[in-house]
Symmetry: C2
């Protein structure tokens, strides 16, 4: 019953952790190898270069996010339900995989041009999914927003930011945080 995780997967996991801790250029492959239970040179049996590790990490994370969000949204039917689903998903995904998401959010500048374009294209696809929900809310229910893109960015930044301070042993769980953010986005702070 002990799951044997393939070495390649393990390296990617450890890389996410290490890169988050020390940033991509601040990390070295000897330490990544050590944490993965092998010697420095052996990394190159699994990946062609340090850059390829970063790219695989970010590319896989973006694909996974798009796929999972799309799945969840299939169960939601109104724009408001979809907004709730998205806020919950985005927070949960960032809190559950804080290493992967942090790298994917912050290491874009360290991708070589070709890889950069591929990852940015997926990031834009993801943002577009969220933007379309806000646009639908505006068109169908008169949501108060002039610039869907502006609010999309605000929403994404706010939710992703949770993973920078979230502690599983803290006072609030994911549900409570998501609920608070949905309320904030829906009704704001001022009483009526």
């Amino acid at each position: 019953m002990t799951e044997t995780i393939p070495r390649r997967e393990l390296i990617l996991q450890e890389a996410a952790h290490l890169f988050r801790e020390k940033s991509y250029p601040g990390s070295n492959l000897r330490e990544l190898a050590r944490r993965s239970g092998i010697q420095g040179g052996s990394i190159y049996h699994h990946f062609a270069s340090k850059q390829e590790i970063l790219f695989q990490l970010m590319d896989h994370t973006m694909s996974d996010m798009i796929e999972r969000l799309t799945e969840r949204l299939a169960e939601a039917h109104t724009p408001l339900e979809k907004l709730r689903t998205t806020v919950y998903f985005h927070i949960e995904y960032h809190v559950t995989g804080p290493d992967q998401t942090y790298i994917t959010d912050e290491e874009l500048r360290n991708l070589e041009p070709e890889n950069y374009l591929k990852v940015v294209a997926k990031r834009d696809r993801y943002q577009r999914i969220v933007e379309d929900i806000l646009s639908a809310g505006k068109a169908e229910h008169g949501w108060l927003l002039d610039e869907p893109k502006l609010y999309t960015r605000a929403l994404i930044k706010m939710c992703a930011g949770v993973s920078t301070w979230f502690k599983p042993e803290g006072e609030l769980n994911i549900e409570q945080i998501a609920e608070a953010y949905i309320n904030l986005f829906s009704n704001g702070l001022l009483p009526r």
Copy 2:
């Protein structure tokens, strides 16, 4: 009338730009020197180490943010006025000095322990100023928030995030973005 900027200041400015472009560990002092118009070794006449450059940059930025926000808040009197002032200031400061603020927001992990504690203390002081405004709004005007700290983080992340995509030549100016964010925070998206 040509302002001669002291070399030390110039190095700090160029460092902010370079570190934002390539991250702190990804930057090297020879390139920083070149951009500052001197040779590699000359950096050490102005700073004791690469680490000290990073620390001076972040520490000065945090002090400056606290000082300026405090000044502006002195002119605001109600919690709502103070919230407006804070949102506007935080966006404006991040958009006006995107290099300095990006470094200060993202390079904490590369500070040595002693420096880390100093900068985090100032960051916490800043956050506390914002948190106290939200708490006052709750106490005095019944603002709808259970956890002032949670909303403080959401507000700060959302506003700071503007500098990652803001372009001066873009469609929206700082006033319009700040206005939209204040509306979002005040009343949310749903019509009543």
